[in-house]
Amino acid sequence: MTAGTRTRLPGLVLVSPLLLILLFAFIAPALLMVPLSLREYVPGSGISANWTLANYTSIVTDEYFREVVVRTLVLGFGVTAICLLLGYPLAYFIAHSGPTMRLTLTMLVIFPMLLNLVVRSFGWIALLANRGLINNLLIDVGLIERPIRMMFNLFGLLVGMSHIFLPFMVLMLVPAIQAIPKDVQSAAYTLAASRLRVFWSITLPMSAPGILSGSILVFVLTISALVTPRMLGGPTYKVMATLIYDDFLQTLDWPAGAAMSFALTALTMLVIGVSSRLMKRWGGQA
Protein backbone atom coordinates (compact mmCIF):
# COMPACT_ATOMS: atom_id res chain seq x y z
CA MET A 1 0.00 0.00 0.00
CA THR A 2 2.74 2.45 0.95
CA ALA A 3 4.66 1.38 -2.14
CA GLY A 4 1.59 2.19 -4.23
CA THR A 5 1.17 5.71 -2.90
CA ARG A 6 4.90 6.31 -3.13
CA THR A 7 4.99 5.53 -6.85
CA ARG A 8 1.63 7.20 -7.64
CA LEU A 9 2.40 10.57 -6.14
CA PRO A 10 5.38 11.51 -8.40
CA GLY A 11 3.42 10.09 -11.32
CA LEU A 12 0.59 12.55 -10.70
CA VAL A 13 3.09 15.37 -10.29
CA LEU A 14 4.58 14.53 -13.69
CA VAL A 15 1.22 14.30 -15.49
CA SER A 16 -0.77 17.09 -13.86
CA PRO A 17 0.75 20.18 -15.56
CA LEU A 18 -0.23 18.84 -18.98
CA LEU A 19 -3.59 17.60 -17.69
CA LEU A 20 -4.41 21.04 -16.27
CA ILE A 21 -3.63 22.71 -19.60
CA LEU A 22 -5.77 20.18 -21.47
CA LEU A 23 -8.59 20.66 -18.96
CA PHE A 24 -8.39 24.43 -19.28
CA ALA A 25 -7.76 24.91 -23.02
CA PHE A 26 -9.27 21.77 -24.55
CA ILE A 27 -11.96 20.00 -22.50
CA ALA A 28 -13.65 23.04 -20.95
CA PRO A 29 -13.94 24.96 -24.27
CA ALA A 30 -15.29 21.86 -26.02
CA LEU A 31 -17.90 21.25 -23.31
CA LEU A 32 -19.01 24.89 -23.32
CA MET A 33 -19.90 24.51 -27.00
CA VAL A 34 -22.81 22.22 -26.01
CA PRO A 35 -24.97 24.91 -24.36
CA LEU A 36 -23.96 27.39 -27.10
CA SER A 37 -25.22 25.05 -29.83
CA LEU A 38 -28.64 24.87 -28.09
CA ARG A 39 -29.17 28.64 -27.97
CA GLU A 40 -31.51 30.50 -30.27
CA TYR A 41 -29.97 33.06 -32.60
CA VAL A 42 -32.04 36.09 -33.53
CA PRO A 43 -30.69 37.94 -36.59
CA GLY A 44 -29.99 41.54 -35.69
CA SER A 45 -30.03 41.15 -31.92
CA GLY A 46 -27.74 38.15 -31.46
CA ILE A 47 -27.81 35.11 -29.18
CA SER A 48 -31.01 34.99 -27.11
CA ALA A 49 -31.61 33.25 -23.77
CA ASN A 50 -34.04 30.72 -25.28
CA TRP A 51 -33.13 27.09 -25.74
CA THR A 52 -33.76 25.35 -29.06
CA LEU A 53 -32.84 22.29 -31.08
CA ALA A 54 -33.31 24.15 -34.35
CA ASN A 55 -29.54 24.57 -34.92
CA TYR A 56 -29.24 20.79 -35.18
CA THR A 57 -32.48 20.03 -37.05
CA SER A 58 -31.77 22.68 -39.69
CA ILE A 59 -28.55 20.89 -40.68
CA VAL A 60 -30.81 18.10 -41.98
CA THR A 61 -33.92 20.06 -43.01
CA ASP A 62 -32.40 23.20 -44.51
CA GLU A 63 -31.60 22.67 -48.17
CA TYR A 64 -28.49 24.85 -48.19
CA PHE A 65 -26.96 23.20 -45.11
CA ARG A 66 -27.72 19.78 -46.58
CA GLU A 67 -25.96 20.76 -49.78
CA VAL A 68 -22.88 21.88 -47.85
CA VAL A 69 -22.77 18.62 -45.85
CA VAL A 70 -23.17 16.51 -49.01
CA ARG A 71 -20.51 18.58 -50.79
CA THR A 72 -18.11 18.02 -47.88
CA LEU A 73 -18.68 14.25 -48.06
CA VAL A 74 -18.32 14.16 -51.86
CA LEU A 75 -15.06 16.06 -51.51
CA GLY A 76 -13.89 13.61 -48.83
CA PHE A 77 -14.59 10.56 -51.00
CA GLY A 78 -13.25 12.19 -54.16
CA VAL A 79 -9.95 13.31 -52.60
CA THR A 80 -9.49 9.89 -50.95
CA ALA A 81 -10.05 8.11 -54.28
CA ILE A 82 -7.62 10.39 -56.16
CA CYS A 83 -4.98 10.02 -53.44
CA LEU A 84 -5.28 6.22 -53.62
CA LEU A 85 -5.05 6.16 -57.42
CA LEU A 86 -2.00 8.46 -57.50
CA GLY A 87 -0.44 7.27 -54.27
CA TYR A 88 -0.48 3.52 -54.77
CA PRO A 89 1.83 3.36 -57.82
CA LEU A 90 4.27 5.76 -56.15
CA ALA A 91 4.19 3.85 -52.85
CA TYR A 92 4.67 0.55 -54.69
CA PHE A 93 7.64 1.98 -56.57
CA ILE A 94 9.21 3.38 -53.38
CA ALA A 95 8.65 0.08 -51.54
CA HIS A 96 10.44 -1.87 -54.29
CA SER A 97 13.35 0.47 -55.00
CA GLY A 98 16.88 0.51 -53.62
CA PRO A 99 17.89 2.43 -50.49
CA THR A 100 19.18 5.61 -52.22
CA MET A 101 16.18 5.94 -54.51
CA ARG A 102 13.85 5.19 -51.59
CA LEU A 103 15.39 7.92 -49.42
CA THR A 104 15.35 10.49 -52.25
CA LEU A 105 11.73 9.83 -53.16
CA THR A 106 10.64 9.74 -49.51
CA MET A 107 12.26 13.14 -48.92
CA LEU A 108 10.54 14.53 -52.02
CA VAL A 109 7.20 13.25 -50.65
CA ILE A 110 7.83 14.64 -47.16
CA PHE A 111 9.07 18.05 -48.33
CA PRO A 112 5.73 19.41 -49.65
CA MET A 113 4.04 17.99 -46.55
CA LEU A 114 6.25 20.05 -44.24
CA LEU A 115 5.80 23.15 -46.34
CA ASN A 116 3.38 25.70 -44.97
CA LEU A 117 -0.18 24.77 -45.92
CA VAL A 118 -0.99 28.35 -46.82
CA VAL A 119 1.97 28.41 -49.22
CA ARG A 120 0.89 25.21 -50.97
CA SER A 121 -2.67 26.50 -51.35
CA PHE A 122 -1.30 29.75 -52.69
CA GLY A 123 0.66 27.76 -55.27
CA TRP A 124 -2.60 26.27 -56.52
CA ILE A 125 -4.21 29.70 -56.71
CA ALA A 126 -1.30 30.85 -58.90
CA LEU A 127 -1.92 27.83 -61.14
CA LEU A 128 -5.72 27.65 -61.29
CA ALA A 129 -6.88 31.27 -61.12
CA ASN A 130 -8.59 32.91 -64.10
CA ARG A 131 -5.37 34.80 -64.74
CA GLY A 132 -3.28 31.94 -63.42
CA LEU A 133 -0.52 29.99 -65.08
CA ILE A 134 -2.64 27.28 -66.71
CA ASN A 135 -5.22 29.65 -68.19
CA ASN A 136 -2.52 32.03 -69.44
CA LEU A 137 -0.68 29.14 -71.05
CA LEU A 138 -3.81 27.79 -72.76
CA ILE A 139 -4.72 31.26 -74.05
CA ASP A 140 -1.19 31.96 -75.32
CA VAL A 141 -1.14 28.65 -77.16
CA GLY A 142 -4.54 29.49 -78.62
CA LEU A 143 -6.45 26.50 -77.30
CA ILE A 144 -9.01 28.66 -75.51
CA GLU A 145 -10.15 32.26 -75.87
CA ARG A 146 -11.56 32.93 -72.43
CA PRO A 147 -10.17 31.52 -69.16
CA ILE A 148 -11.67 28.28 -67.87
CA ARG A 149 -13.01 28.50 -64.32
CA MET A 150 -10.92 26.13 -62.25
CA MET A 151 -11.29 27.71 -58.81
CA PHE A 152 -14.27 28.37 -56.54
CA ASN A 153 -15.73 25.01 -57.62
CA LEU A 154 -15.42 21.28 -56.94
CA PHE A 155 -12.60 20.86 -59.47
CA GLY A 156 -10.27 23.33 -57.76
CA LEU A 157 -10.89 21.85 -54.33
CA LEU A 158 -10.40 18.28 -55.57
CA VAL A 159 -7.07 19.10 -57.24
CA GLY A 160 -5.69 21.26 -54.43
CA MET A 161 -6.70 18.97 -51.57
CA SER A 162 -5.57 15.80 -53.35
CA HIS A 163 -2.17 17.41 -53.70
CA ILE A 164 -2.08 18.42 -50.06
CA PHE A 165 -3.08 15.04 -48.60
CA LEU A 166 -1.31 12.76 -51.09
CA PRO A 167 1.91 12.56 -48.99
CA PHE A 168 -0.07 11.19 -46.01
CA MET A 169 -1.49 8.43 -48.20
CA VAL A 170 1.92 7.51 -49.66
CA LEU A 171 3.55 7.42 -46.22
CA MET A 172 0.83 5.06 -44.94
CA LEU A 173 1.01 2.79 -48.02
CA VAL A 174 4.80 2.30 -48.25
CA PRO A 175 5.22 0.32 -44.99
CA ALA A 176 2.08 -1.71 -45.74
CA ILE A 177 3.43 -2.75 -49.15
CA GLN A 178 6.91 -3.37 -47.73
CA ALA A 179 5.44 -5.67 -45.07
CA ILE A 180 4.16 -8.14 -47.68
CA PRO A 181 6.52 -11.14 -47.57
CA LYS A 182 8.37 -11.46 -50.90
CA ASP A 183 8.02 -15.28 -50.69
CA VAL A 184 4.27 -15.15 -51.24
CA GLN A 185 4.71 -13.24 -54.49
CA SER A 186 7.55 -15.47 -55.65
CA ALA A 187 5.46 -18.55 -54.86
CA ALA A 188 2.65 -17.20 -57.02
CA TYR A 189 5.07 -16.51 -59.90
CA THR A 190 6.42 -20.06 -59.55
CA LEU A 191 2.85 -21.28 -59.93
CA ALA A 192 2.76 -19.35 -63.23
CA ALA A 193 0.48 -16.53 -62.12
CA SER A 194 0.61 -13.42 -64.32
CA ARG A 195 1.85 -10.09 -62.88
CA LEU A 196 -1.68 -8.69 -62.95
CA ARG A 197 -3.04 -11.77 -61.20
CA VAL A 198 -0.36 -11.53 -58.50
CA PHE A 199 -1.17 -7.86 -58.00
CA TRP A 200 -4.93 -8.42 -57.78
CA SER A 201 -4.98 -11.53 -55.63
CA ILE A 202 -1.89 -10.99 -53.44
CA THR A 203 -0.35 -7.52 -53.32
CA LEU A 204 -3.59 -5.52 -53.24
CA PRO A 205 -5.46 -7.58 -50.60
CA MET A 206 -2.36 -7.93 -48.44
CA SER A 207 -1.84 -4.16 -48.40
CA ALA A 208 -5.51 -3.60 -47.51
CA PRO A 209 -4.80 -2.47 -43.91
CA GLY A 210 -2.51 0.26 -45.24
CA ILE A 211 -5.08 1.25 -47.86
CA LEU A 212 -7.78 1.49 -45.19
CA SER A 213 -5.74 3.49 -42.68
CA GLY A 214 -4.42 5.82 -45.40
CA SER A 215 -7.95 6.37 -46.74
CA ILE A 216 -9.39 7.08 -43.30
CA LEU A 217 -6.63 9.59 -42.57
CA VAL A 218 -7.08 11.41 -45.90
CA PHE A 219 -10.89 11.40 -45.61
CA VAL A 220 -10.88 12.81 -42.07
CA LEU A 221 -8.25 15.44 -42.92
CA THR A 222 -10.21 16.47 -46.03
CA ILE A 223 -13.58 16.95 -44.37
CA SER A 224 -12.09 18.91 -41.46
CA ALA A 225 -9.75 21.13 -43.53
CA LEU A 226 -10.34 24.87 -43.42
CA VAL A 227 -7.41 26.63 -45.09
CA THR A 228 -7.37 25.06 -48.56
CA PRO A 229 -11.17 25.03 -49.07
CA ARG A 230 -11.29 28.67 -48.02
CA MET A 231 -8.38 29.77 -50.24
CA LEU A 232 -9.44 27.76 -53.30
CA GLY A 233 -13.21 27.87 -52.72
CA GLY A 234 -13.44 31.52 -51.76
CA PRO A 235 -16.27 32.90 -49.64
CA THR A 236 -19.00 31.42 -51.86
CA TYR A 237 -18.17 27.75 -52.47
CA LYS A 238 -18.53 26.47 -48.92
CA VAL A 239 -17.82 23.22 -47.10
CA MET A 240 -18.68 22.46 -43.46
CA ALA A 241 -15.41 23.85 -42.05
CA THR A 242 -15.62 27.12 -44.00
CA LEU A 243 -19.29 27.46 -43.03
CA ILE A 244 -18.27 27.23 -39.36
CA TYR A 245 -15.54 29.82 -40.01
CA ASP A 246 -18.08 32.24 -41.49
CA ASP A 247 -20.64 31.59 -38.74
CA PHE A 248 -18.11 32.61 -36.11
CA LEU A 249 -16.27 35.45 -37.85
CA GLN A 250 -18.67 36.90 -40.45
CA THR A 251 -22.38 36.32 -39.69
CA LEU A 252 -21.74 35.86 -35.94
CA ASP A 253 -24.42 33.13 -35.76
CA TRP A 254 -22.36 31.27 -33.16
CA PRO A 255 -25.08 28.75 -32.15
CA ALA A 256 -25.45 27.49 -35.74
CA GLY A 257 -21.66 27.31 -36.05
CA ALA A 258 -21.42 25.35 -32.78
CA ALA A 259 -24.05 22.85 -33.95
CA MET A 260 -22.25 22.47 -37.27
CA SER A 261 -18.99 21.95 -35.34
CA PHE A 262 -20.55 19.04 -33.46
CA ALA A 263 -21.89 17.60 -36.70
CA LEU A 264 -18.40 17.75 -38.22
CA THR A 265 -16.81 16.24 -35.10
CA ALA A 266 -19.45 13.47 -35.02
CA LEU A 267 -18.71 12.66 -38.68
CA THR A 268 -14.97 12.33 -38.07
CA MET A 269 -15.55 10.25 -34.90
CA LEU A 270 -17.95 7.98 -36.78
CA VAL A 271 -15.46 7.38 -39.59
CA ILE A 272 -12.60 6.71 -37.17
CA GLY A 273 -14.75 4.47 -34.95
CA VAL A 274 -16.11 2.31 -37.77
CA SER A 275 -12.68 1.94 -39.34
CA SER A 276 -10.95 0.93 -36.11
CA ARG A 277 -13.62 -1.79 -35.68
CA LEU A 278 -12.87 -2.96 -39.22
CA MET A 279 -9.13 -2.97 -38.55
CA LYS A 280 -9.58 -5.05 -35.39
CA ARG A 281 -11.67 -7.60 -37.26
CA TRP A 282 -9.04 -7.86 -40.00
CA GLY A 283 -6.30 -8.09 -37.39
CA GLY A 284 -8.19 -10.98 -35.77
CA GLN A 285 -8.37 -12.86 -39.04
CA ALA A 286 -4.71 -12.50 -39.93
Binding site: A25, F26, P112, V119, G123, G257
Partner: protein, 263 residues
Protein backbone atom coordinates in the same frame (compact mmCIF):
# COMPACT_ATOMS: atom_id res chain seq x y z
CA UNK B 1 12.92 -10.28 -68.32
CA UNK B 2 12.38 -7.70 -71.04
CA UNK B 3 8.68 -7.57 -70.28
CA UNK B 4 9.38 -7.13 -66.60
CA UNK B 5 11.71 -4.24 -67.25
CA UNK B 6 9.24 -2.39 -69.47
CA UNK B 7 6.47 -2.76 -66.90
CA UNK B 8 8.78 -1.51 -64.20
CA UNK B 9 9.44 1.40 -66.56
CA UNK B 10 5.76 2.31 -66.79
CA UNK B 11 5.44 2.14 -63.01
CA UNK B 12 8.58 4.24 -62.68
CA UNK B 13 7.23 6.89 -65.04
CA UNK B 14 3.96 6.98 -63.09
CA UNK B 15 5.85 7.29 -59.80
CA UNK B 16 8.06 10.13 -61.06
CA UNK B 17 4.99 11.82 -62.53
CA UNK B 18 3.29 11.80 -59.13
CA UNK B 19 6.44 13.07 -57.39
CA UNK B 20 6.63 15.87 -59.98
CA UNK B 21 2.94 16.68 -59.35
CA UNK B 22 3.81 17.06 -55.66
CA UNK B 23 6.50 19.67 -56.43
CA UNK B 24 4.55 21.71 -59.03
CA UNK B 25 2.92 24.29 -56.71
CA UNK B 26 6.25 24.75 -54.95
CA UNK B 27 8.02 25.56 -58.22
CA UNK B 28 5.20 27.85 -59.30
CA UNK B 29 5.41 29.86 -56.09
CA UNK B 30 9.17 30.30 -56.45
CA UNK B 31 8.75 31.30 -60.09
CA UNK B 32 6.05 33.83 -59.18
CA UNK B 33 8.29 35.43 -56.57
CA UNK B 34 10.86 36.40 -59.24
CA UNK B 35 8.32 37.48 -61.84
CA UNK B 36 8.12 41.11 -62.98
CA UNK B 37 4.42 40.85 -63.81
CA UNK B 38 1.77 40.57 -61.14
CA UNK B 39 0.44 37.45 -62.84
CA UNK B 40 2.31 34.38 -63.89
CA UNK B 41 3.27 33.45 -67.40
CA UNK B 42 5.54 30.81 -68.88
CA UNK B 43 8.17 31.82 -69.72
CA UNK B 44 8.17 34.60 -67.08
CA UNK B 45 8.30 38.11 -68.56
CA UNK B 46 11.44 39.34 -66.86
CA UNK B 47 13.03 38.47 -63.55
CA UNK B 48 13.31 40.72 -60.51
CA UNK B 49 14.22 40.65 -56.83
CA UNK B 50 11.84 43.53 -56.19
CA UNK B 51 9.22 41.48 -54.30
CA UNK B 52 11.78 40.18 -51.81
CA UNK B 53 12.81 43.76 -51.10
CA UNK B 54 9.16 44.72 -50.60
CA UNK B 55 8.67 41.87 -48.11
CA UNK B 56 11.86 42.37 -46.16
CA UNK B 57 11.03 46.07 -45.69
CA UNK B 58 7.39 45.45 -44.78
CA UNK B 59 7.10 45.85 -41.02
CA UNK B 60 3.80 43.92 -41.00
CA UNK B 61 5.40 40.83 -42.56
CA UNK B 62 8.42 41.08 -40.27
CA UNK B 63 6.20 41.47 -37.22
CA UNK B 64 4.09 38.49 -38.28
CA UNK B 65 7.18 36.35 -38.85
CA UNK B 66 8.50 37.34 -35.44
CA UNK B 67 5.19 36.46 -33.74
CA UNK B 68 5.09 33.10 -35.54
CA UNK B 69 8.62 32.18 -34.50
CA UNK B 70 8.12 33.19 -30.89
CA UNK B 71 4.81 31.39 -30.63
CA UNK B 72 6.19 28.20 -32.20
CA UNK B 73 9.30 28.27 -29.99
CA UNK B 74 7.36 28.86 -26.77
CA UNK B 75 4.69 26.26 -27.63
CA UNK B 76 7.28 23.64 -28.65
CA UNK B 77 9.34 24.21 -25.50
CA UNK B 78 6.30 23.75 -23.27
CA UNK B 79 5.05 20.76 -25.26
CA UNK B 80 8.48 19.08 -25.06
CA UNK B 81 8.82 19.44 -21.28
CA UNK B 82 5.21 18.63 -20.36
CA UNK B 83 4.85 15.93 -23.01
CA UNK B 84 8.06 14.15 -21.99
CA UNK B 85 7.14 14.20 -18.28
CA UNK B 86 3.64 12.88 -18.95
CA UNK B 87 4.84 10.24 -21.42
CA UNK B 88 7.47 9.05 -18.92
CA UNK B 89 4.89 8.71 -16.13
CA UNK B 90 2.51 6.85 -18.45
CA UNK B 91 5.21 4.57 -19.80
CA UNK B 92 6.49 3.55 -16.36
CA UNK B 93 2.88 3.02 -15.17
CA UNK B 94 3.26 5.63 -12.44
CA UNK B 95 -0.33 6.82 -12.97
CA UNK B 96 -3.70 5.02 -13.10
CA UNK B 97 -5.81 4.96 -16.29
CA UNK B 98 -2.71 5.21 -18.48
CA UNK B 99 -4.59 4.26 -21.67
CA UNK B 100 -7.34 6.87 -21.18
CA UNK B 101 -4.74 9.51 -20.35
CA UNK B 102 -2.86 8.76 -23.56
CA UNK B 103 -6.15 8.95 -25.46
CA UNK B 104 -6.89 12.35 -23.94
CA UNK B 105 -3.44 13.70 -24.84
CA UNK B 106 -3.85 12.50 -28.44
CA UNK B 107 -7.44 13.79 -28.74
CA UNK B 108 -6.49 17.23 -30.13
CA UNK B 109 -5.26 15.40 -33.24
CA UNK B 110 -8.72 13.94 -33.92
CA UNK B 111 -10.84 17.01 -33.20
CA UNK B 112 -11.03 19.17 -36.36
CA UNK B 113 -8.77 22.19 -35.73
CA UNK B 114 -11.47 24.63 -36.82
CA UNK B 115 -13.74 23.21 -34.09
CA UNK B 116 -11.04 23.71 -31.43
CA UNK B 117 -10.52 27.21 -32.81
CA UNK B 118 -14.15 28.31 -32.48
CA UNK B 119 -14.53 26.54 -29.11
CA UNK B 120 -11.55 28.50 -27.78
CA UNK B 121 -12.93 31.70 -29.32
CA UNK B 122 -16.15 31.33 -27.31
CA UNK B 123 -14.31 30.22 -24.17
CA UNK B 124 -11.79 33.05 -24.23
CA UNK B 125 -14.59 35.55 -24.94
CA UNK B 126 -16.46 34.28 -21.86
CA UNK B 127 -13.37 34.34 -19.64
CA UNK B 128 -12.11 37.68 -20.91
CA UNK B 129 -8.99 36.16 -22.49
CA UNK B 130 -9.82 37.02 -26.10
CA UNK B 131 -6.81 38.39 -27.96
CA UNK B 132 -4.57 37.34 -25.05
CA UNK B 133 -1.13 35.99 -26.04
CA UNK B 134 -1.09 33.48 -23.17
CA UNK B 135 -4.38 32.04 -24.41
CA UNK B 136 -2.94 31.69 -27.90
CA UNK B 137 0.18 30.02 -26.48
CA UNK B 138 -1.91 27.52 -24.45
CA UNK B 139 -3.92 26.68 -27.58
CA UNK B 140 -0.68 25.97 -29.47
CA UNK B 141 0.58 23.77 -26.62
CA UNK B 142 -2.65 21.75 -26.91
CA UNK B 143 -2.26 21.23 -30.68
CA UNK B 144 1.48 20.45 -30.57
CA UNK B 145 1.67 18.19 -27.50
CA UNK B 146 0.23 15.04 -29.19
CA UNK B 147 3.26 14.86 -31.51
CA UNK B 148 5.68 15.05 -28.59
CA UNK B 149 3.76 12.50 -26.47
CA UNK B 150 3.57 10.08 -29.40
CA UNK B 151 7.28 10.41 -30.23
CA UNK B 152 8.29 10.08 -26.57
CA UNK B 153 6.09 7.03 -25.94
CA UNK B 154 7.50 5.20 -28.95
CA UNK B 155 11.12 6.11 -28.02
CA UNK B 156 10.59 5.07 -24.39
CA UNK B 157 9.34 1.65 -25.50
CA UNK B 158 12.78 1.04 -27.00
CA UNK B 159 14.60 1.98 -23.76
CA UNK B 160 15.58 -0.88 -21.48
CA UNK B 161 14.14 0.02 -18.07
CA UNK B 162 16.75 -2.03 -16.26
CA UNK B 163 19.39 0.50 -17.37
CA UNK B 164 17.78 3.16 -15.22
CA UNK B 165 17.33 0.68 -12.36
CA UNK B 166 21.02 -0.14 -12.61
CA UNK B 167 21.88 3.54 -12.25
CA UNK B 168 19.73 3.69 -9.12
CA UNK B 169 21.40 0.65 -7.63
CA UNK B 170 24.70 2.45 -8.19
CA UNK B 171 23.44 5.32 -6.04
CA UNK B 172 21.88 7.81 -8.52
CA UNK B 173 18.59 9.37 -7.42
CA UNK B 174 15.48 9.18 -9.65
CA UNK B 175 16.08 12.46 -11.43
CA UNK B 176 19.79 11.86 -12.03
CA UNK B 177 19.24 8.39 -13.46
CA UNK B 178 16.51 9.79 -15.74
CA UNK B 179 18.72 12.66 -16.88
CA UNK B 180 21.88 10.64 -17.46
CA UNK B 181 20.42 7.37 -18.74
CA UNK B 182 16.90 7.67 -20.19
CA UNK B 183 17.04 11.22 -21.56
CA UNK B 184 20.01 10.63 -23.94
CA UNK B 185 18.32 7.46 -25.18
CA UNK B 186 15.02 9.20 -26.07
CA UNK B 187 16.75 12.27 -27.55
CA UNK B 188 16.25 11.33 -31.24
CA UNK B 189 12.52 10.83 -30.66
CA UNK B 190 12.39 14.07 -28.71
CA UNK B 191 14.07 15.97 -31.58
CA UNK B 192 11.68 14.50 -34.16
CA UNK B 193 8.61 15.15 -31.98
CA UNK B 194 9.80 18.67 -31.26
CA UNK B 195 10.37 19.36 -34.94
CA UNK B 196 6.86 18.17 -35.77
CA UNK B 197 5.45 20.30 -32.96
CA UNK B 198 7.36 23.34 -34.21
CA UNK B 199 6.18 22.89 -37.79
CA UNK B 200 2.59 22.29 -36.64
CA UNK B 201 2.58 25.51 -34.65
CA UNK B 202 4.27 27.46 -37.45
CA UNK B 203 1.73 26.12 -39.96
CA UNK B 204 -1.41 26.67 -37.95
CA UNK B 205 -4.23 28.84 -39.25
CA UNK B 206 -7.52 27.19 -38.12
CA UNK B 207 -6.85 27.83 -34.42
CA UNK B 208 -4.78 31.03 -34.57
CA UNK B 209 -7.14 32.89 -36.92
CA UNK B 210 -9.87 32.92 -34.24
CA UNK B 211 -7.64 33.88 -31.32
CA UNK B 212 -5.34 36.63 -32.59
CA UNK B 213 -5.95 40.17 -31.39
CA UNK B 214 -6.53 42.89 -33.96
CA UNK B 215 -3.00 44.24 -33.55
CA UNK B 216 -1.06 40.99 -33.99
CA UNK B 217 -0.91 38.30 -36.64
CA UNK B 218 1.14 35.25 -37.51
CA UNK B 219 2.76 34.71 -40.90
CA UNK B 220 0.36 32.00 -42.20
CA UNK B 221 -2.69 33.94 -40.99
CA UNK B 222 -1.33 37.06 -42.70
CA UNK B 223 -0.93 35.18 -46.01
CA UNK B 224 -4.32 33.49 -45.54
CA UNK B 225 -6.17 36.76 -45.06
CA UNK B 226 -4.20 38.77 -47.63
CA UNK B 227 -5.05 36.26 -50.38
CA UNK B 228 -8.73 37.15 -49.90
CA UNK B 229 -7.90 40.70 -50.92
CA UNK B 230 -6.26 39.55 -54.14
CA UNK B 231 -3.04 37.83 -55.11
CA UNK B 232 0.09 39.93 -54.86
CA UNK B 233 3.60 38.69 -55.83
CA UNK B 234 4.91 39.70 -52.42
CA UNK B 235 2.92 36.74 -51.04
CA UNK B 236 4.94 34.54 -53.39
CA UNK B 237 8.17 36.11 -52.13
CA UNK B 238 7.29 35.42 -48.47
CA UNK B 239 6.28 31.91 -49.43
CA UNK B 240 9.59 31.37 -51.25
CA UNK B 241 11.52 32.41 -48.15
CA UNK B 242 9.45 29.88 -46.16
CA UNK B 243 10.11 27.17 -48.77
CA UNK B 244 13.87 27.72 -48.55
CA UNK B 245 13.74 27.72 -44.73
CA UNK B 246 11.72 24.47 -44.69
CA UNK B 247 14.09 22.77 -47.14
CA UNK B 248 17.15 23.73 -45.07
CA UNK B 249 15.51 22.54 -41.82
CA UNK B 250 14.46 19.24 -43.42
CA UNK B 251 17.99 18.56 -44.70
CA UNK B 252 19.55 19.43 -41.34
CA UNK B 253 17.04 17.29 -39.46
CA UNK B 254 17.68 14.38 -41.81
CA UNK B 255 21.46 14.56 -41.29
CA UNK B 256 21.02 15.02 -37.57
CA UNK B 257 18.47 12.36 -36.65
CA UNK B 258 17.46 10.40 -39.75
CA UNK B 259 14.21 12.35 -39.64
CA UNK B 260 12.34 10.31 -42.29
CA UNK B 261 12.31 7.28 -39.97
CA UNK B 262 10.16 9.14 -37.47
CA UNK B 263 7.51 10.49 -39.84
Amino acid sequence: MNEERSRFGILGIAAFGVVAFLQIPVLVVVLAAFSKTAYLTIPPKGLTLHWFEVVLRDSEYLGAAWTSLWLATAATAAALVLGLLAAYAIHRRMVPFAASLTGLMMAPLILPSVVLGVALLQYYTLTGMRGNSVGLWLAHVVITVPYVVRACLSSLTAVDESLEDAARVLGADGFTSFRLVTLPLVKPGLVAGGLFAFITSLDNVPVSVFLLSASQTTLPVKIFTSVEQGVDPSVAAVSTLLIVATGVVLLLAERWTGFHKHV
